[in-house]
Amino acid sequence: MAQESELNFKATELRLGLPGTDECEDMISSVKNNNKRSLSETVEDNASKDITSPETPPAPKAQIIGWPPVRSYRKNNLQTKKTESETGIFVKVSMDGAPYLRKIDLKIYNGYAELLKALETMFKFTIGEYSEREGYKGSEYAPAYEDKDGDLMLVGDVPWNMFMTSCKKLRIMKGSEARGLGCGV
């Protein structure tokens, strides 16, 4: 009953205020009523003011201007780091004779040492010691990769960062083929 009369009142209300005063009343009442949970009009998404029931998932966090109080240059520094780490560089790794391939994220390794150690663990073998002259000596395995041009290259020749961007897939070669690739003649 009260609702019915309210609907009519608002429509036929005689007001002396200038156009736009509605918003002022809303502002005063909202500040007064929201004493405890007073997220002000600066909140861009007002939907977050509603208390949600347990079933509905919480509304996405609305960003309040200037909160938390972190200066822009700090925020910018962190953001670049974040986007960098979110995109991984996943490449397939195959080993001659193994029944199936694996996939690894090159981004999580700091360099060749870490990568090779991870491969050794993953496929349970030992890679020999790297030297520019002789490739991987002391083992019948050689880690190779296919680069952007489709060529089969020995892992370790180029700087790590260059390797990360040019490596398309890894292949752990075994046996005579490996020796041909790795060692000098």
């Binding site: 200038l18 109080p69 780091k81 974040k82 700087p159």
Partner: protein, 581 residues
């Protein structure tokens, strides 16, 4: 009695007075002391550029050599002050270029500085030595080129966190080959790469260079070249601290650091890679200041690093350090005075690191000299705050930011009034306080009752009513700066404490409940205050008087109303009704 001393003798005595407070006191003794003092004051500090005009300053102090000034309100750091607000330094530079030809130092904070200003500085002051631009904006690297090229005796160029339009790195090459006077260079806020050979030569020919803060663009493998040319450095800001891991780079770096026996402060360390941290271990025992707030390394590496720095007095770090790292800090760094922990993921909904209130409690227990804290975290309890207060009654600056607004004590779900109350009750020398979390009017009662030395207070999303604001304004005797956002504080407290505002530097209130009518009344009642309404919705005249204003900035001044305001700011005074936007 005073007139029997020759002026020169008094002047000589006054030359030993450094603090403004002392000099101001001396000026009040009698007319002749006022006169003598004003002619020999060499340094002036103006905390609010709009509190006075260049003419008034120059008229009173004709022989100034060093000038320091601040512009925008502190909340400008968090984008709460609209673009175009003001704080232009040009009128000051212009007036001083005529009045103070012997000016040597200009230090500005949160001001708008143009290339024109920089060029004018470089050409007007023949003995110019020190330029510090802290959080300033409005200039480009071309302006820096003028300074580099024309200031023959430049000792200090410090661009602390300013926003510079980076046109190119070429500005550095404008330092003439005969410039050997540099003592301090901070270019860490710039993006562009400078000519490395020019930088190398500059560093090599300045034997008194003590502070060098590089920008991110300087690659790690080149750092040894600079360090070997400046082994006398006391403060170093590295460039990017990341590179492919190579033995030769590591050994060069390690060797270069080992030669820097005077190094006390280290910063920069962008993108720090754990593999290269041991290269700096040789300087760690001597470090008193370490800024790791750009180093995204994890807790184990951070713990290891701080454990090598037993003489550390100041640590700035990201919350990657976690509670475990702070425990290592508390164990190893017994001289620690200042700790700042910044959030690595301020906008994430869930915590990404294991940093809680416990870390801060541990440091408060282990570090007896801890007096200055800035701490971002996601949970806090009254119990923790009470413990911190008990451990550290010597606290001077306490700024706590619980990331979720109005977060209660996570254990009891109560407001954090008791905890902050304990802080102000125990820490009798507290000068600066920033509040966060769920807070009622009660916390302000505690603050008004106990925080008698408090000079600066920052409040957000707190309080229930005007009573809260009233407690602060009527109780905090030493209050100079008060900044408030999103609190239900309105007209009553403000009008009842109008006189208090003349004893303060400034008051900022945004998204509160102060009505336009109250602002007008205050402006009319208090002619020595500028009551400025900032409202981007348009002229407040077009809305009813009871309508709250968006933002309000009140400050004492002898300059009268501003004449350089943008169209979204209105000064409330006797002519308020006659003003147009």
């Amino acid at each position: 009695m005073a007139y029997s001393f020759p002026e020169e003798v008094l002047e000589h005595v006054f030359s030993f007075l450094c603090s403004d407070k002392d000099r101001n006191a001396v000026s009040l003794v009698c007319k002749s002391w006022y006169e003598i003092e004003r002619w020999c004051r060499r340094r002036i500090f103006i905390g609010n550029c709009y509190s006075v005009t260049p003419d008034i300053v120059i008229r009173r102090f004709p022989k100034v050599r060093s000038m320091e000034m601040k512009g925008k309100p502190h909340f400008a750091d968090f984008n709460l002050v609209p673009e175009g607000w003001g704080a232009y330094v040009y009128p000051w530079i212009s007036a001083m270029s005529v009045a103070y030809p012997l000016l040597e130092e200009i230090k500005l904070k949160r001001m708008v500085v143009t290339d024109e200003c920089l060029e004018l500085i470089s050409k007007s002051f023949k003995s110019f030595k020190v330029l510090v631009l802290s959080s300033c904006e409005g200039f480009t690297t071309d302006g820096l080129a003028s300074i580099a090229a024309n200031c023959r005796n430049l000792r200090e160029l410090d661009l602390k966190e300013s926003e510079v339009e980076d046109l190119s790195g070429h500005w550095l090459s404008h330092f003439p080959e005969h410039c050997t006077s540099l003592v301090s260079l901070n270019m860490s806020c710039l993006g562009s790469e400078v000519s490395f050979s020019a930088l190398e030569r500059l560093v090599g020919r300045c034997p008194n260079l003590k502070t060098l803060r590089l920008n991110r663009a300087v690659p790690l493998e080149k750092l040894p070249n600079l360090l070997s040319r400046a082994p006398q450095l006391v403060e170093l800001g590295t460039g990017t601290y990341s590179s492919e891991v190579r033995v030769d780079i590591f050994s060069n770096l390690s060797e270069a650091f080992s030669v820097c026996k005077q190094l006390k402060g280290l910063s920069g360390l962008w993108d720090a890679v754990p593999a290269y941290l041991p290269a700096m271990y040789s300087v760690c025992p001597g470090l008193t200041s370490l800024n790791l707030s750009y180093a995204t390394i994890q807790s184990p590496d951070l713990s290891k690093l701080v454990s090598q720095c037993p003489n550390l007095q100041r640590l700035w770090v990201l919350d990657y350090i976690e509670d475990s790292g702070l425990e290592a800090l508390a164990t190893s760094c017994k001289d620690l005075q200042e700790l700042r922990v910044f959030p690595s993921d301020p906008f994430g909904a869930e915590p990404n690191v294991s940093l809680t209130e416990q870390g801060l409690v541990t440091v408060s227990e282990g570090c007896p000299k801890l007096q200055s804290v800035l701490y971002f975290c996601r949970q806090m309890s009254n119990a923790a705050l009470v413990t911190i207060a008990k451990n550290r009654p010597n606290m001077i600056r306490f700024r706590l930011c619980i990331i979720e607004p109005q977060a209660p004590d996570y254990v009891t779900l109560e407001p954090l009034d008791t905890g902050f109350g304990a802080i102000v009750k125990s820490c009798k020398e507290l000068r600066r306080l920033s509040l966060s979390g769920l807070l009622t009017d009660r916390v302000f009662e505690y603050i008004g009752t106990h925080a008698k030395k408090l000079e600066m207070l920052s409040i957000a999303f707190a309080g229930d009513s005007d009573l809260g604001l009233h407690h602060v304004l009527s109780g905090c005797e030493s209050l100079r700066k008060l900044e408030i956002r999103d609190c239900p504080f309105g007209d009553k407290a403000l009008l009842a404490n109008a006189a208090k505002l003349e004893t303060m530097r400034s008051l900022w209130m945004s998204s509160c409940s102060v009505s336009y009518g109250a602002c007008k009344l205050l402006g009319q009642k208090m002619p020595r205050l500028n009551v400025e309404v900032i409202d981007e919705r348009g002229p407040p005249e077009l809305r009813p008087e009871i309508c709250p204003v968006e933002k309000l900035y009140i400050y004492r001044t002898v300059a009268g109303r501003r004449i350089d305001m943008p169209d979204f700011i209105w000064t409330m005074d006797e002519d308020a009704a006659l003003q147009h936007s």
